[in-house]
Structure formats: structure tokens, C-alpha cells
Amino acid sequence: MRVPAGESVAAAVLVHALDHTRTTPVSHAPRAPFCMMGVCFECVMEIDGIANRQACLVPVAEGMQIRRQHGTGRIDE
């Protein structure tokens, strides 16, 4: 997937109509970026192997590995 450098991961997800960034731990409902400024935590994703990163605050970079986060993102799930 190609996106302009400097754009946030959350913006890239939305532009490419990937719809949601995570599912909730309780009801597994899909959630998408809501605030784009780091206050709602709906955009948390697994970025380069690290869970719970706020995609709206992380700029995309060459070769970045981005995955939807399911639940709390802990290894034991």
C-alpha cells in the first residue's frame, strides 16, 4: 500500500477504506478513529509488532507493518 509520507497511520487506514482500526475487548465491536488527535484511543493498532499504538499520532513510514488490534492487544489473547 502506498501513502504520502508524513500522513498518520489512521489517515492512511481511512483513505484506503479499511474501515476499522480495532475491535473492542468486551463485545468485539469494530471501532474506527474518532478524534484524530490522541484523546479517544479508538485508533489503537499493532504497529511494527507493538500493540496499543495510537495510529492517529504515528506517521506512516516505508515498510511499516500495521495490523488491526483485537481486544486489549495483550499477547495472552
Binding site: 489517515a11 468486551v26 484523546v39 496499543n52
Partner: protein, 466 residues
Amino acid sequence: MSKSARLAVIGAGPAGLSAATLAAELGLDVVLIDEQASPGGQIYRALAEAPAKRIDLLGDDYRRGRALLRALHTSGAEYWPDTSVWSLDQNRTLGILRAGRAAMLQFEQVIIAGGAMERPVPFPGWTLPGVMNLGAAQILLKSAGVVPAGGTVIAGVGPLLLLVARQYLRAGVAVKAVLEISPRSNMLRAAPHLLRATAGGSYLRRGVKYTADIMRAGVPIHYGVSRLRAHGDRHIESVEFASHGWRGRCDRMLATDSLLVHFGVTPRTSLVCAAGGRLAWDTSLQCWRTQVDQWGNTSVDGIAVAGDAAGIGGAISAEHSGRLAALAAASSLGHITAAERDRLSHADIAWRRKDLRIRPFLNALYRIPPEFLVPDDATIVCRCEEITAGQIRAAVREGHTDPNQVKFLLRCGMGPCQGRQCASSVAHIVSATRQIPAAACAPFRVRPPISPLSIEQLAELSMADE
């Protein structure tokens, strides 16, 4: 990273930019810290990189930020982008995260200029993908040139609804409707304040012009909207609402895969709370804000708050309050005398005094009706832990009468956002259920880290301590 800097300014919006610039000009050793990649805050977001065409679309209000960016550049203040502050204590020790590494740094003075966030207002379906804050959509436009391609419905309160609808129309986006929720009775509430609001007239004229432009484009604007709800299975498919015209109530349904909502903005208070600073409930703003004096000083020695983080005043007011906080910091550190501080602050204080007169008018005009502040039982209030208004009400009735008790019982506000999205709603629900003023509720206690650190980052930090 230099450890000798004496003043830390957190947030590079109009408040932080002006504070850091003036403080550096007065000879202070200043570091300006912001978690964004470029300066400007919310209003001037990505201004330095935005292409000319996008700047034209966003207009003069956006372009104005250029002067602030230039002034920072020549002031000599140090600027750390991509750096988030995840803790602050009463001794002015900052926990920062920069390029994946955590560090603790102490400062002699701290100015928090973290700005505002859009007021979280729960309604049925607000957690569905496709429902987003309107300011968030503005961020997408400013930083990535992105607009809702399949059209959108815009709902909420205030001038931003009209401003964005107009920008979208000019960019060729189909705006299906604008839904304004403030009831007509707000006009009556606001009218007495208009006499004192010198700028009120020009403000209203701008609103009238925007409204005319939007209606001419054939976009319906509904006033006094209630019963707002988003429907859909895994993504929003339609929005339902009741509009209240002269002919009475009318229930409507619009098909849409995008709904953008905006219910005004409220101060971001996590950092000041983490440092033990006192908040006050603002009945006019219907939320908490930091208790500050005219310089922005909080109840914690050496920590001040400037701009929208202290109380909502908008971008120009933020510049003036940033300058006032810088003058106070310079005088506390002995760079200028108290008499010089007072002399240099005349214009800023006079401007703010004048501007403050329009606020009661705007707050009354865009007051959120109780129906939206206190949601139905089935509506999710805490987005992180999926706690409904009904669960909160039941907890209050069982005797958990304070927001912090509700939090510990239900985990409401204990998820990753740490209550940023539910704290004020919980206060409104507790207050409505107990029939006490919201001001009698205690705000959620906040403990650092206020944003997530990985186990590795925490481990690194404790090794550095040893």
C-alpha cells in the same frame, strides 16, 4: 537533550507558540514540546506543509498561523516535535516520550498549552465506524487533504458546522444535511448577553452569510434537532433525528455512510490533574476547566496553563494568554521585574477583557440541551469499557454517588483513554440522577502515564534511575 532548559512549554498551538516565542525573546531558556510532527496546534494543523490549494480552501483563519510559525523560528526557542508528555508532577518533572524513548526532565517553570478536545457527547450509535468528530475530519483535510468521498451529514452545535459544510461544498463533497441541535430557546438565553458582547454582531453576520451560502447550494439545515441516532451493523448506514420547525416535530431518516459530529470543545485537563492542579466546574461551558489566575497560574507552584486548555477562548485569545503566561514565568525566574511584567501585559489583558465579554453570549447560544448531556439507558458512555448510561445510573442509585466511586465499581473511565471521553458525561449523569449540581461532583483522579508506555520503555526508564 539539553537538561538545563528552565521553561518547558507543552503544546505548539497558538498559545504555546506565543508563550515560547515571547519567553525566548525575553532571554529565557525555553523548550517547546509537541506530540505532533509540525507546529500549529489544532487550528493551524500541518500549516507548514500544506499545499497552496489546500490553504486557499481553508481560508484566512488558517493562513494567519504563518506569522506565529515565523516568530517561533527567529525567537531562539528550542522546539521538540514528535514528543509526547506522558506525566507531570508537582515538582515540574516531565515524563516525555521521543523517538520511542522515555525520559524524565525537570524544569523550573512549566506552561501547559495542550489545547482543547471536542466535547464527547454520547448518543445511540456514536461508536459505529463512519461516525467521527467534525474537528477530526478537519484534521484529515488539513494534514492529508482527505474529505468524505461518499458525502456526509454534519450534526451538532455551533459555527464549525457551517464553516466545514461550506468548505466541503467548495471542495465538491455532497453535504446531505446540517443538523443543528441547539434549541430555539437558546436564542432567548443568549439575547441578554448580546448587549455586552461588542463582537457579537459581526459574529452573527458571518453566521448568516454562511447559512445563506449553504442553503443556496440546496443543502437542508435543520434547527432544534433532537433524538439523534446512528444506525448500522458494523458501519453507519443511516442517521435518524427529529427536527422541530414552526410546524412542530418531524421525524426523519437519512441514508449515509458518514456522520460528522461536533458539540463544541472542552479543555484538556489530564496533565494538570496528574500534577495535582485544581479544576473547577464551569456551569457556562458545562464541563471542567483548570482553576487559574489572570496569568494562567494554577494551584501548583511553577505550573501555568494557557490557551484553550485553561478555558475556551479560541485561537486569538490563546495567543494573548500564552504571552501572559510567558511574562509571568519570566518574572518568576527573575528575568524581568513585576513592574515590567505588568507594563508589558497591558495590551494582552485589555484584549482578553474585551473578548471575555462575548463568551457568555456564545456559551448560551450553543448550550448543549440536557437530552444530549444525559443519555438514554442503552447508550454507551464509556467507549473503552463499553459501559452504558443505564449501568452508571444504577450504580448511583445503589449508593456509588461520586464519579470516582462509579469508576472503581464499573471500570468506567479506567480504559486506555483514562476517562477523557466519559468523565464529563459521568458527572452529568451523577448530577441528574442525584439532582445535585455537577459542580458538586469530584473530577476523575488522573494518574500518570496519561498516554501508554510499553513495558520496554518503562524498564529503560527505571534503569536510567538506578
